[in-house]
């Protein structure tokens, strides 16, 4: 359940470390974003000497949330933090490698690029 003002960590090596959500992409008055949703975010903290800088507005895709993700077979996945992966306008990830586990729902939502860069898929 990510909403504007939510701080998220970054799961790739794009150069950003922390993002703050400023808008949830989808319907006009959409309240929350979950795993598999795209958000507009601003970079709050970045690694020095990388292409991305602090206070840059970018799009990101949520890969892990503290709010649980339910599956039809009754399985519930809940991570320990809210994490996103930075993507560009075309939907390609900005970083080259992704860290941590990724839920397989991203594949159904057309984020197979992120899934193919992930070290493990739950």
């Amino acid at each position: 359940m990510i909403q504007p003002q939510t701080h998220l960590n970054v799961a790739d090596n794009s150069g950003a470390r922390e993002l703050m959500c400023i808008r949830v992409i989808g319907a006009s008055n959409r309240r929350y974003a979950h795993i598999g949703d795209v958000i507009v975010a601003v970079i709050k903290e970045a690694v020095p000497n990388t292409p991305l800088e602090r206070s840059e507005v970018i799009k990101a895709e949520i890969v892990r949330t503290r709010k649980e993700l339910k599956r039809d077979n009754g399985m519930i996945i809940r991570y320990d933090d809210n994490v996103a992966v930075i993507i560009d306008q075309e939907g390609n990830p900005k970083g080259t490698r992704i860290f941590g586990a990724i839920a397989r729902e991203l594949r159904q939502l057309n984020f197979t690029k992120i899934v193919s860069l992930a070290p493990e898929v739950l």
């Binding site: 057309n110 197979t112 899934v115 493990e120």
Partner: protein, 223 residues
């Protein structure tokens, strides 16, 4: 910088909890060991879930604590990480346990590679990724030199799959600098040359076996 987090998995009411450690490449050698493995096992259409969380928690005093088993039944190693130093050891172990990984030659993958080479795509590689990745069997990676060419390759592959095998891909509809077509057990990646160098998927899937294509489509070998 290491990021420690706990993942809680709940199956049918009972809760398993394990320590997930995220390993970043610039971490020192000391921090390599901790990682967790998960594995899905499909037996005769029944999805049997076997979880094995094996992590080594790093004790601040320096000694490594024994593993934390969330649900330990099997002694075998589960998932492989793709680029890792013990991957060779793991492969040897798996080979001993399961013998040679036998795969039926996937005609769809080879035919797609041929179609791509007809449109003059460069450096076509077909990787057998089943031992590394559970959600797919083959990856086809190709380079195209312009967006119209990417469009052409994509549409030809789509047509071939639909006519011959009745498979409809999910993935990019519009040509993209990295166009991906997902056919379930075959995933096609079409890159522009800069993108291919940037993402370097072959290095990430370096442990996948390369499938040999018929000689006309043989890509020029370069390291």
């Amino acid at each position: 910088m290491a990021v420690c987090s706990t993942t809680t998995l709940s199956i049918g009411g009972s809760v398993f909890s394990g320590q997930l450690r995220h390993w970043e490449p610039n971490e020192s050698k000391l921090f390599q060991k901790p990682r967790s493995r998960f594995r899905w096992l499909c037996l005769n259409d029944l999805h049997l879930l076997r979880f094995r969380t094996k992590t080594l928690n790093f004790n601040p005093r320096g000694s490594l604590l024994p593993s934390l088993y969330a649900y330990g039944k099997e002694a075998d190693d589960a998932f492989l990480s793709k680029v890792n130093e013990d991957t060779d050891e793991m492969f040897d172990d798996l080979m001993k346990k399961y013998g040679e990984v036998v795969f039926r030659k996937n005609e769809l993958a080879v035919e797609m590679a041929k179609v791509a080479s007809d449109v003059k795509a460069a450096d076509i590689r077909v990787l057998f990724v089943k031992p590394l990745v559970y959600w797919s069997r083959f990856f086809i990676i190709a380079t195209a030199f312009s967006r119209p060419q990417i469009d052409a390759i994509g549409s030809r592959i789509r047509d071939l799959a639909e006519k011959k095998y009745g498979k409809v891909p999910s993935g990019d509809a519009k040509p993209n600098s990295w166009t991906l077509l997902d056919f379930g057990d075959v995933v096609v990646h079409i890159f522009l040359p800069q993108q291919r160098a940037f993402y370097n998927l072959e290095e990430f899937y370096g442990n996948a076996t390369l499938i040999e294509l018929p000689s006309e489509t043989q890509p020029p070998f370069h390291t």
